[in-house]
């Protein structure tokens, strides 16, 4: 197996710690993802898929266990370092409400790079244009999200997730809101990019058909990995 982009060891997550309504959502997750892998994360509603994705995405901290991103231990990073690492190594695609409505498609795609570099430059514009062309939106650069269909918005989100060329993209039900035809297209697009660029994908989905088209299926049941 190639180098590991992601490793989880005994990761636990509890909410409302220290209160009577304390609840453990994830019970000791061990998981590894290879660079360039294309994996589906499946499981019933409430099984903890989103929670796991947020932990991997450094948006939340685990209650116990270790997380390594690209070989780097993240447990003791402070907020600023986590933010930096997140911006540099992870792309996100969410189910809804994922674009900034005040900004055009092009500006949305440039946003992660703008955050990273501090100000606009020609290179980031060129890359954003190229990415939007790649996801089939070369002629919608100046459109705001409200003027785009759900499938087009998700294409913009994918382009944005790839803006800084991260080694891994985390997607939480990226097709959950789309009709099956559009869902197929979006899924196919991610698969193509995975093959072309070698970006690893971890995709949460309820769609067994799409999950079947992934290299690997990780099944979560009641907060534990099943298969």
């Amino acid at each position: 197996m190639a180098s590991r982009i992601l490793e989880l060891e005994g990761v636990r997550k509890s909410y409302n710690v220290g209160t009577p309504i304390e609840v453990e959502v994830l019970h000791g997750i061990d998981l590894a993802l290879a660079a360039g892998e294309f994996a589906a994360l499946i499981g019933p509603s409430g099984s903890g898929k989103s929670t796991l994705l947020h932990l991997i995405g450094l948006l939340e901290r685990p209650t116990a266990g270790r997380i390594l991103i690209a070989g780097k231990e993240v447990d003791h990073l402070d907020e600023a370092a986590m933010t930096e690492l997140r911006g540099r190594t992870l792309g996100f695609v969410f189910q809804f409400h994922h674009l900034l409505p005040e900004f055009t498609a092009l500006e949305n795609v440039m946003m992660p790079t703008l955050i990273e570099r501090g100000r606009y430059d020609g290179a980031m514009r060129a890359r954003a244009q190229w990415l939007l062309g790649r996801v089939g939106l070369g002629d919608a650069l100046a459109k705001k999200p409200a003027a785009l269909s759900g499938g087009m918005q998700q294409r913009v989100a994918i382009a944005r997730a790839l803006a800084v060329n991260p080694p891994m993209v985390l997607a939480d039900e990226p097709t959950g809101n789309l009709d099956s035809h559009t869902a197929d297209e979006i899924f196919g697009l991610m698969r193509e990019i995975n093959r072309e660029v070698g970006t690893a994908f971890l995709i949460v989905t309820h769609d067994a058909r799409l999950a079947g088209r992934c290299d690997r299926r990780i099944e979560l049941m009641d907060g534990s990995i099943w298969a």
Binding site: L59, T83, E84, F94, L99, E102, F103, M111, P112, I115
Partner: protein, 405 residues
């Protein structure tokens, strides 16, 4: 343009109505702050100017003579009652030395030596009690602008000449060119030819003042080479009291500023200033609350976007900055537009507000420093008002925004 500015500007631009309203509110606040400040200062200046048209800014004279105990201190208890001494007419000791020294004191721009006392004016059967004012005309005109108040004749007094108030002229039935005899309280007399009559706008002065050459007054008042007062003009009228105190400290002479003489007026000014200050404070508070409330709403509205921005690499510190900048921009825009509006308001008021005599109550000018001060306050207010919303934005949990957004 830095990321934080790109976001701040875009958020403001896209929040059209909210942004327009809060900038309008800030604009009005800034304009009213500048306007009432300019109005009050202008009113006070014009009142002070009126008062000072017949008074010197500072008058220096010999200290009052204290009663000298006849007995030595040990046995002073014997004296059960000490009467204040009668104040004689007397000259300032070595006044030339003081006179030379005064112009070197900061703010002092003009000095004039004066010999003054009381007496009587006679013409035919008429006799009137008067105040003799002996001056050097060129110097004195820089203390009180009598030239501007001449009714008949010309501002000129040579030896044997005098200018008198219009009411005194009427009482004596005298006109320019006529002669009057002046008898001083020291019992000396002389004849003067009237060169001008003046109207100081104060009946009592118009009825009593006789302005004559310093030498003539010295002779009449039996003060050879001496002067009873030195009048001063300062460049900042509201610095007069401080300058007067400095003069007393330096020379031991009594120095009275117009502010001390017109203590009622000064008390009124003080109350006015306090009122204006209070109004200003509340205006700043209202503007701050307005900006803060709009930004708080904006933070709540943008919860989802803040979550996304955090997810794609924006640190809490940078999110905070985005909202601080918005507060600063609202403050700056309000400052710029408020300054413009204030200029219009003051300009309009300079036409609309008239005094009894038809002259403008306030000048159409605003001191540049008011713009600067009001703008600094507005920008600072915007920034401070944004602190709480910005903190709130920075604290926002991205997961919550993404999960439930």
């Amino acid at each position: 343009m830095p990321f934080e500015w790109v976001l701040a500007l875009r958020f403001l631009r896209e929040g059209r109505m909210q942004t327009a309203l809060i900038i309008a509110g800030t604009t009005v606040g800034v304009a009213v702050i500048i306007f009432i400040t300019a109005l009050m200062n202008s009113l006070q200046a014009s009142l002070a100017e009126r008062t000072l048209s017949t008074q010197s800014h500072i008058t220096v004279r010999a200290p009052d003579e204290a009663p000298l105990p006849v007995l030595d201190r040990q046995r002073a208890a014997v004296a059960s009652h000490v009467e204040p001494r009668v104040q004689r007419l007397r000259s300032i000791d070595q006044w030339q030395r003081v006179f030379r020294e005064l112009p070197s004191i900061p703010h002092v721009v003009a000095v004039s030596a004066i010999a003054t006392g009381s007496g009587f004016a006679y013409r035919g059967n008429a006799s009137k009690s008067i105040a003799l004012i002996g001056v050097e005309p060129e110097r004195y005109s820089r203390i009180v602008k009598i030239e501007d108040k001449i009714r008949t004749g010309a501002y000129r007094i040579g030896p044997g000449e005098a200018m008198i108030g219009i009411d005194l002229a009427r009482d004596l039935g005298a006109a320019v060119g006529d002669r009057i005899r002046i008898l001083s309280s020291e019992g000396r007399d002389d004849v003067f030819r009237i060169t001008a009559t003046f109207d100081l706008g104060v009946r009592d002065l118009n009825r009593r003042w006789v302005i004559m050459p310093l030498r003539s007054a010295q002779t009449l008042l039996d003060l050879p080479g001496g002067v009873t007062h030195i009048d001063l003009t300062v460049d900042d009228i509201f610095a007069a009291e401080a300058v007067a105190q400095q003069i007393t400290a330096r020379t031991g002479l009594t120095a009275e500023s117009w502010m001390a003489v017109n203590s009622q007026l000064m008390a009124a000014f003080k109350n006015q200033t306090m009122t204006t200050r209070t109004v200003r404070l509340f205006l700043v508070l209202i503007v701050a609350l307005g900006i803060a409330s709009v930004l708080v709403v904006s933070v709540v509205q943008k919860q989802r976007e803040i979550g996304i921005l955090r997810a794609i690499g924006a640190s809490p510190g940078r999110i905070k900055k985005v909202f601080l900048i918005q507060g600063g921009i609202v403050g700056s825009a309000g400052a710029a537009m408020g300054s413009g509006l204030a200029t219009l308001m003051v300009w309009g008021a300079s036409y609309a507000l008239r005094q009894d005599d038809g002259s403008a109550l306030i000048t159409g000018q605003i001191e540049f420093s008011y713009y600067l001060a009001a703008s600094a306050v507005a920008v600072l207010t915007g920034l401070l008002a944004a602190v709480a919303p910005a903190r709130q934005a920075a604290r926002m949990d991205p997961v919550e925004a993404i999960r439930y957004g």
